[in-house]
């Protein structure tokens, strides 16, 4: 865990998630200040805008701006929804936030309810993390008992109810409109946009959806001010950010560092390369972000702008590190299989295209590739991108392009020699799984 941020920083140890511990760390001070001083909702939104906080779920959309889209005068129900469906391969930060600091998310969501005039909220929690879901429910109980949730919060006129919704294994439900469908008790299939959730969201009512880490950043911004948050990071990239580092490093885990931290520093925090081996490439923002080879990523700083300039995306902050023992064709094959499996099947370019991508990469990996396959892959990606209802189509296409752009020779080698550049036993040794089955 990084000691530079504020989300996981003080929250360590088995009891850190409890309400009493959170309050000891200064928790719920922001909410208390807001309700006791009757702070006008627009001031909260203005503070967020000043902070330059950008959504931590992947797209990096400015949070203050998103909140300002909610129709303040709308008379009926409005909703705040938290996206804890974390399923983008490589991403495991929201699980740790909910494990060690659930009240920070709860406080952020209550403040969001206050700022946007919503009386109800839901936190959609990834299916595979049952214990975290149960813990979140317990944290909600604590908050209710302390009058931080429910009617007349802390004796004020403001009321807000919050519930947890447990997913059950569908990556696509991380897409915000699929997530809403899922809460409504349906298959998680994304909706056409527009209308956007701010006008037609949960149960057809205005709704704002943010990522877990986004909500967790809100109390700090209220306490310390938007300007201070911005100063933690760099212009246009406010704050600290959690990076989930996985793959071929000595110490995989979450590290909370200021936006704009040079990549080599993060790599060092993660204990450096496993076994001192050579870095081959890094997927910097979750599995849909294009891979970057060593010479490019080592020059990057970790913020939306620097990674975008290098031709990839900061995304969810999931940093997948691959060393020289990695077969890049096999790596892409596994990712392509994932998108093919998880496509909801509504749009033809995505449903058919993800199947094509997987089958072609699969045959290259298995020694049956044809020389024209690389052009075929490129043309399939062209036929997917920008032609689908949701961004999963693009998410499936972008890694293919990234791998082909930077590791084309390796794909060609597979096609010509019908085998891998990296011998199987070297790959196995790289994975660190000790007993050979």
């Amino acid at each position: 865990m990084g000691a530079l941020g504020f989300i996981l920083d003080a929250a360590e140890g088995e009891r850190s998630w409890r309400l009493a511990e959170y309050v000891k760390r200064g928790g719920y001070a922001a909410l208390k200040k807001i309700v006791s001083e009757n702070i006008p909702p627009e001031n909260i939104v203005a503070e967020l805008k000043k902070s330059s906080l950008r959504g931590r779920g992947g797209a990096g959309f400015p949070t203050g701006l998103k909140w300002s889209f909610m129709p303040r005068q709308f008379p009926g129900a409005k909703y705040v929804v938290c996206n804890s469906d974390e399923g983008e391969p490589g991403t495991f930060k929201d699980r740790d936030i909910l494990r060690w600091n659930p009240h920070m998310v709860i406080e952020g969501m209550i403040i969001a309810g206050y700022a946007m005039g919503c009386a109800r909220g839901y936190n959609y929690i990834h299916g595979e993390i049952w214990d975290i879901y149960k813990r979140f429910e317990e944290a909600l109980e604590e908050a209710r008992a302390a009058k931080l949730l429910g009617d007349n919060i802390l004796g004020s006129a403001f009321s807000f109810e919050l519930q947890a919704h447990h997913g059950y294994g569908a990556y696509i439900c991380g897409e915000e409109t699929a997530l809403l469908e899922s809460i409504e008790g349906k298959k998680g299939q994304p909706r056409f946009k527009p209308p956007f959730p701010a006008s037609f969201g949960l149960y057809g009512k205005p709704t704002t959806i943010n990522n877990t880490e986004t909500f967790a950043s809100v109390p700090w911004i209220i306490n310390q001010g938007g300007e201070k948050f911005l100063e933690l990071g760099k212009p246009n990239n406010g704050g600290t950010k959690l990076f989930s580092v996985s793959g071929h490093v000595n110490r995989p885990g979450n590290f909370e560092v200021p936006m704009g931290t040079p990549f080599p520093e993060l790599l060092a925090l993660a204990g450096g390369m496993r076994g001192g081996r050579k870095l081959k490439g890094v997927i910097p923002g979750g599995s849909s972000a294009p891979v970057l080879p060593e010479e490019i990523i080592m020059e990057c700083t970790l913020d939306y702008d620097s990674i975008a300039k290098a031709g990839s995306m900061l995304g969810s902050g999931a940093v997948i590190v691959m060393d020289e023992t990695t077969c890049m064709v096999k790596a892409l094959e596994r990712l392509s299989y994932f998108y093919f499996e998880e496509s909801c099947g509504q749009c033809t370019p995505c449903r058919e295209g993800t199947g094509w991508l997987y089958r072609v990469v699969h045959r290259i990996e298995h020694g049956q590739g044809r020389p024209e396959d690389l052009d075929l892959l490129n043309s399939v990606t062209e036929n997917i991108m920008g032609r689908t209802i949701c961004a999963l189509g693009d998410a499936a296409a972008m890694p293919v392009r990234g791998f082909l752009k930077h590791y084309k020779a390796e794909f060609e080698y597979h096609i010509q020699n019908k085998k891998c550049l990296v011998p199987e036993d070297v790959q196995r040794a790289g994975s660190g799984f000790f007993k050979v089955a």
Binding site: F92, Y171, K187, S246, H248, S287, G432
Partner: protein, 157 residues
């Protein structure tokens, strides 16, 4: 068809949503009955539909869309191994191979004694703890090297 305990749990879930949105509890209801019975038969899906005032087909659609529901019987212990890339880089696929060899079954198969079913899983949001596996949808096991896998199998009696 639904046990009293299941009904009680389902009604607690229903209360989380606006009164006219009972259907929102369908995912939780299916999870609850699956936890009790091991898998989701057509009869139990219909019972859930009746309880929530939904069309059975609508409940079936949900049950078949989400990966963690089982529409056919599974072993007493369903072990789902994450083999997605981040885990694979740290032994996820090798851990799955090891399990296959020890249990003598492949993915989506059940041991002859009905004790184990093996499934291939997608990212569980725990990639830093690879290899990871999930037992019966609720128990996540981290850093599963051969020794830990042996111990887990021993515990699953």
């Amino acid at each position: 068809m639904l046990s009293q305990e299941s009904q009680k749990q389902i009604d607690r879930e229903v209360a989380k949503y606006p009164a006219e949105q009972k259907q929102s509890a369908v995912m939780a209801a299916l999870a609850i009955v699956q936890m009790e019975r091991g898998w989701l038969s057509n009869e139990i899906i219909e019972a859930v539909a009746n309880h929530l005032g939904m069309a059975p087909m609508a409940v079936y659609e949900v049950a078949s869309f989400y990966n963690m529901y089982d529409l056919a019987p599974v072993g007493k212990y369903k072990i789902t191994v994450c083999t997605n890339l981040p885990c694979a880089l740290s032994g996820g696929v090798h851990a799955a191979d090891y399990l296959k060899q020890k249990l003598g079954i492949g993915f989506n198969e059940t041991t002859a004694d009905g004790r184990f079913t093996l499934k291939e899983g997608e990212c569980m949001g725990a990639c830093g703890d690879a290899p990871v596996m999930l037992v019966n949808n609720v128990r996540m096991c981290s850093f599963m090297q051969p020794e830990q896998i042996d111990r887990l199998l021993g515990e699953c009696q």
